[in-house]
Each structure stands twice: as structure tokens, then as C-alpha cells.
Amino acid sequence: MTDPNTLSPLDLDTLDKTYLDANELVINMGPQHPATHGVLRVILRLDGEKVLGLECVIGYLHRGVEKIAENRTYTMFNPYVDRMDYVAAVSNALGYCEAVEKLLSVEAPPRAQYIRVILTELNRIASHQLWLGTHALDIGAITPLFYTFRDREEILKIFEKYCGARLTTHAFRIGGLQYEAYDGFEKDVKAFCTFVKPKIDEYEELLTTNRIWLERTKGVGVISGKDCIALGVTGPVLRASGVKWDIRKAQPYANYKNFDFEIPTGQNGDTYDRYIVRMIEMRQSLRIIEQAVEGIPEGPIMAKVPKVMKPPVGEVYHSIEAPKGELGYFIVSDGSTQPYRVRVRPPSFINLQALDLMCRGQLVADVIAVIGTLDIVLGEVDR
């Protein structure tokens, strides 16, 4: 099945009939299930162990973030975006702040931009580490989880020293930064870079050439680049299918055009390629951080932004490359202090659409592997 348009979703109304067919089994996975990464509910139709089709039921974590935005001022809404993809809160904030800045036609000063890039890339590494740990855990390797969490802690410590929060950081403000980098920030970041490189090698040592890992990931959950584009799938999943699309290069934002880094791509679009792409991405992020921390310019950290923000009437779409894919903000301003409408393009939500396509014809164990490899965060799927 290559044309996603012909996919027929599992019809919930006819489920009862499948009980009459002795070969088919309908299994409800989640929302309380150890491997659905939160509160995703997947209804699986199985023939023995083979997946005939599946349907995702979402909304268990819906908090109406987009609606909340309409009743908050631009500044007040800023902390809310951290709660969408809570493992990559810094990226969410970067996207939102840059979108509002675009609407206000201001630009953050260079020093602020460098610190933003450093924090965002650190967050990308943290997000990928968390992904790796939980993904490996789903496939049955329980040890990498603790290694990645041990090393992710060092990133969270830097966040905590910088802004006091570890997870939902609220690190950025519209127009720049609230806080100047603390004394020893550069030293900490450099120390982290030298600390984490051998650690990434350690993860790879555990998994990359592990026979069982290869068997469990190669050829599992294959999706072609064409299907990815048709479904709107972005991020490492798209790149692993051989499409070289990274917003940091394609439509550079923040300061990314000043840095030298590469976009890793895969060929097969299977779980193993996605794993490799993310592992290389972590190393490339380190490269960016090292360049950025060398070149942090002096200067102000906040642009001139009015105390009461009243952007001109109009609309703006701004997207960034979040760890999970293209994170976009579409903001409509009616000239008041509150946005008229905020629409978020969450990468997790759109990537999750591909689950059915990737899982059909595979086994139950592969569904778990594919959910893990899509790297979804239910806070972002449901918003």
C-alpha cells in the first residue's frame, strides 16, 4: 500500500463483527499501557500476531492549549507552549517566540540568538536521549534507559542553572531572553560536550551492532519518502526515508545559517535508519553547540519590545525544526493584546498518522517498535 489516500481506517462501528471471525482478534492497547508513551490508545486488529490494521484514539491529554491562547496575551501564553512537547520545551518556546517576533517585526539580538541555539540544541540532545532510552526499553533492552537518563541529567542541570527550571523551562522571552547566561555557562556547555561524546559511543556500543537489535529494527516499520511527504511526516522519520529536509537548512531561522553542520539521511526508511539518523543528529547538535559556544557575541540579550504587545493585524506562519519534526505556529492577530487564533502544527500528531501505514502486515511487537521510533509525545499530540 503506497497511496495513503486509499487507507481505510478501522471502522469502530463494525468491530463487534470481528469477534465472529475466529481468525481475527481485536486488542485494545492503552491508554494505560507501558509502551504507548503516555496515554495513546491503539486499537489493533490482529490475525494471530499479524497486524491487519490499527486505529489510534487520542485526546486523553487534551488541554485546549490553542483555545487557551485566545484568552491570554502574547507574553502570558509563552509558558503554555512548554507543556506541549514537554521533553523538548525549549524548542517549543523558540518556535513561539520567533513566530511572535516575526509578527511584531522585531529580531532578537545576536547574543540572545546564540544562547537560544545552544539551549535548543542541548534540548534536542536531551529529547533524543529520552527517545533512545524509551525506544530501547520498548524493544526489550532495559539498560540504555538508565544510561541516557544519567547523561540527560547533565543537560537538565545546565537548564536549571540557567533559568531555574529543568523540564518546562520557559527559557526564552518574545524579543530575546529574560536571563543573561550565568557565570560559567560556556564552561559548563563545553564540559558537557566533552562529557557526552563518549557516552553516545557507549549507547551505540550497546545497540548499533547488537544482533537482536538489528533483527528487531531492520526492515521494521518501513515508510517511503513519498508516503512521508504525502502524509506530512517530518523530522528524523522523513530524513531516514531519504528526504533531505531539515528546516534548519531549508528555511534557516535563529542563527542556524552561521553554523556548519550536516543533515543525516537514511535510505531504507526503517526503524534502524531512524535510529542511526537520530544518533548522528545528536553528534551534529554537539557540533553546532561547540561552534555556538565559541562564538557567543557580546551585547544586549533583549530587543526593544513594547511592554504591551499589540502586533499589527495580520497572520504569520513560522516553523522550526523541533527534535520530532517541523513544529509550526500559525498566529492570527486582530491588533489586540491577545492572539485571535493560534494554530500549532505539532510534529508528533502528524507523524502519528503514519503509524497505521507503517504497521500493517507487521507483528504486534513491531507496533511497539514503530510507536517508539515515531518519537511521539502525547502532550503534543493532544495539546
Binding site: E49, I139, G140, T143, R150, A365
Partner: protein, 430 residues
């Protein structure tokens, strides 16, 4: 009364196991000893697995209940016994009730023939190894009934996976076992044995562990068995029936409290049981290292001191950690507890230096030490490997282990009979 004392005393000094000698009293004592020892081993294994796994995963493991979490298994056992006993509404109550008992009975019964020493077994059957394989494979019945009686999808899939897995790995396991049994027939009479004690004695007689016999055939057979036994006991990386990330808990998803703890008990005693098969068949059972090469009273003395030294070492580790305990009033009881535990271990160690104990404990010690090595391997696997997928598991079982096992069996037979075969060939050529 006098007759009873006579009956009890009549066994002492016998060179047979109580079952073979037909002494009911000592057989019962042995059964109780094995049962208690096994329960203690499972409790210890519970603590050790959590601690060792924790240390592999850069964390501490249980630390709160007792010094270094030593009392954690007891706390857990209490919790499990006090938990509400839930039987799902749609479950088949009788079958649901019986299933854990089938598994436990099967897992414990196999220990009837496990030889802890030349006379330290409950009984010595002439079909010992067959009995072990047969009874241990009965536990699959309990698992299937548990999954079916739960009347729920996850346990059902878990039970089906489990039965398919256990049945298919038993084939490869059996082939590996047969090749070891073939080796026991390499003696003057050309008659092999299926008796567990006989297998160990054959290794002693031939002066080599079957692991190194016909290098590398013995090692390959052992490897097949070592892989199959992990699959047979449903442990990582073959823990699909209870794959937590896929099937929540597999066949025992709906079980809780006491019944769940029975499954737990059965799983760990099954692990110990298959490890004892491996130890008996390939690693020389109760024989100490180099029983034929390093002989003489000096070496005997040196090896008989090992158990005591081991326990003294464990006690010493306790004392070392007692000294490292935080010097805070809150930790006083824990510090005293750890020191007390160390004293107990050290006393056991000293006791093992006494000549009457020293001469009798050696066999049991070496057997348990070898089994403990396998237990460590189980934990190590769990900390290292990802989980196989069901079809890959079947592929490994049927397409790799089974043909290898068959080829190995034939090769072992050919190598074992090479003299006769050569004679035949010469006969034909002439």
C-alpha cells in the same frame, strides 16, 4: 521407638541416596531441606537480581528496607500475601485457581532427582534426566491454562506464545542433552546412563567435564542447551510471553497477590532447575575443579577450604560496607543489621572450616556455586539484550538450534565410535 531410631540410623553411612535406599524418613528430611533451600534461594535471587541489575544500570536498587535492601524480598513477600485476591469476573474460576499450582508443582518436583552430591539427592532414578525434562515441561500446561482461564486477550496471547516457545525449544534442548548422554557411554561396558548421579560419575571417571569433551562438540552442545534453557524459562532475551512493553505481563496479567507470587516462585525455581541440568550434564555437577589433575591430600585440603573462605569473604564485604555506612543516628539500626548479617556469614564460614563439616559440605557447595554462576548469567542477559520478536525466536529455535543439534548428535556419535568405525572400514577395505 527403638525400631524407629534404628530405622533412622540405618541409613547413616549408606552410599546411596535416601530414595534409592528406600528410607522414607531421610527422604522426607531431604525433601524438606530442598524445599526450604529452594525457597531461600528464590528469595536471595530476588534480592540479588534487583541489586546486580541495578548496579549494571548505574543505580542502587533497593536500599531502604534493611541494610542495602536485604529485607526487601521479605517485605515484598508480605505485601503479596496480604494483597486482595482478585479473580476476574469473566474468568473460569477453577482453572484460574489451579493454574499456578500446576506451574509450582512442576517446578518443584524436578528437584527430586537433582544431585547435590553423590548421595545428596532425594532419589536417584535410572531415568533421572528424562524425568527432569518431562516434569519441567509440564509447567507449560499451567501457563496455557492460566492464560486461557483469565478470559482476557493479553494473557491469551502470552500463553500461546509461551507454549509455542517452550515446546519448540524443548526439541533443541533434548538433542543437546542426548549428545551429552551419548558421552556417558564411553566406558568399558559401552553402556551409558540417564541417571543424574551416573552422568556426573561418568565425567569423573573420564576425567573431563563434558563441556570440554570432544572439543568443540561438548561446548556446542552446551551452548545449544544454554540458549534453549533461557528460552525454556521465558527469560530475557526470550521473555516474549511476558514482554512487558507489548503484553503488559503476559499470561499472568490478571493474577495478583499470592497467585502471582506462585508464578514468580515457579519461574525462579525453574531457572534453578534447568541450570542444575546444565551443571550436571556439562560442568561436572558436584565435582570440584580438577578432581583428577590436582589430587592428593594437599589439594583436597585446599579445595575443602574454599567454601569457608567464600563465606568469610562475603562476611568481610559486609563488614567493609558496615564501615562505609553513613555515621548518622538514623542509620544505626541498619548499620547494626548489616554488621549482624556479616557476623552470621562469617560464623557460617568458620563453621565450614571444622573438619566434619568441611568434608561433607564440599559437594553441595560446588554444585550451588556452579548453579549460582548460571543465575548470574541470567541476570546479565537481562541487563544486556533487547528482546527477540516472536518469529525470530521461532527461527532461532527451528532453523538454527535444531539442525545444529541434530548434526552435533550425529557427529558426537561418530567421534565416540571412531575406533569401531575405523575397524569396520579396514575390514571392508581388506
Amino acid at each position: 521407638m527403638h525400631e524407629f531410631v534404628q530405622y533412622v540410623l540405618s541409613y547413616l553411612g549408606s552410599d546411596k541416596t535416601p530414595g534409592t535406599a528406600g528410607n522414607i524418613f531421610w527422604a522426607t528430611v531431604y525433601v524438606l531441606l530442598v524445599f526450604v533451600g529452594l525457597s531461600v534461594a528464590v528469595i536471595a535471587m530476588n534480592w540479588l537480581e534487583r541489586k546486580i541489575l541495578a548496579h549494571m544500570q548505574v543505580r542502587l536498587g533497593p536500599m531502604r528496607v534493611g541494610p542495602h535492601g536485604l529485607l526487601q524480598p521479605i517485605a515484598d513477600a508480605l505485601k503479596l500475601l496480604l494483597k486482595e485476591d482478585i479473580i476476574p469476573a469473566g474468568a473460569d474460576k477453577v482453572v484460574f485457581w489451579i493454574a499456578p499450582f500446576i506451574v509450582v508443582v512442576a517446578a518443584f518436583t524436578v528437584f527430586v532427582v537433582v544431585p547435590f552430591g553423590p548421595t545428596h539427592a532425594i532419589t536417584d532414578m535410572n531415568i533421572g534426566i528424562l524425568f527432569m525434562l518431562g516434569v519441567s515441561s509440564l509447567s507449560v500446561l499451567g501457563i496455557v491454562t492460566a492464560g486461557w482461564a483469565s478470559n482476557s486477550h493479553y494473557p491469551l496471547i502470552g500463553a500461546l506464545r509461551s507454549s509455542a516457545q517452550m515446546v519448540s525449544y524443548e526439541v533443541a534442548m533434548g538433542l543437546a542433552v542426548v549428545s551429552a548422554i551419548l558421552m556417558t557411554s564411553l566406558n568399558a561396558t559401552n553402556i551409558g546412563t540417564l541417571s543424574m548421579i551416573g552422568i556426573v560419575e561418568a565425567q569423573k571417571e573420564q576425567g573431563v567435564w563434558f563441556l570440554f569433551k570432544f572439543f568443540p562438540l561438548g561446548i556446542i552442545a552446551f551452548a545449544i542447551f544454554a540458549i534453549a534453557m533461557v528460552a525454556e524459562t521465558n527469560r530475557a532475551p526470550f521473555d516474549l510471553p511476558e514482554a512487558e512493553s507489548e503484553l503488559t505481563a503476559g499470561f499472568h496479567t490478571e493474577y495478583s497477590g499470592f497467585r502471582w507470587s506462585l508464578f514468580f516462585l515457579a519461574e525462579y525455581s525453574a531457572m534453578i532447575a534447568v541450570s542444575s541440568i546444565a551443571v550436571t550434564l556439562w560442568i561436572g555437577g558436584w565435582l570440584r575443579p580438577f578432581p583428577n589433575a590436582l589430587t592428593g591430600p594437599t589439594w583436597d585440603l585446599a579445595f575443602s577450604l574454599v567454601p569457608g573462605v567464600t563465606f568469610l569473604f562475603l562476611g568481610g564485604m559486609c563488614f567493609y560496607n558496615t564501615a562505609r555506612m553513613p555515621k548518622h543516628p538514623l542509620f544505626r539500626i541498619q548499620t547494626i543489621g548489616l554488621a549482624g548479617f556479616g557476623v552470621v556469614l562469617a560464623l557460617i564460614g568458620l563453621l565450614m572450616f571444622l573438619p566434619p563439616v568441611r568434608d561433607r559440605i564440599g559437594d553441595i557447595f560446588w554444585f550451588c556455586a556452579k548453579v549460582a554462576g548460571f543465575m548470574y548469567l541470567y541476570i546479565w542477559y537481562r541487563g544486556t539484550f533487547p528482546r527477540y520478536r516472536f518469529d525470530q525466536l521461532m527461527k532461532v529455535g527451528w532453523k538454527v538450534l535444531l539442525p545444529t543439534g541434530l548434526a552435533l548428535l550425529i557427529l558426537t556419535a561418530v567421534v565416540g565410535m571412531r575406533a569401531e568405525l575405523l575397524a569396520q572400514v579396514k575390514e571392508v577395505l581388506r
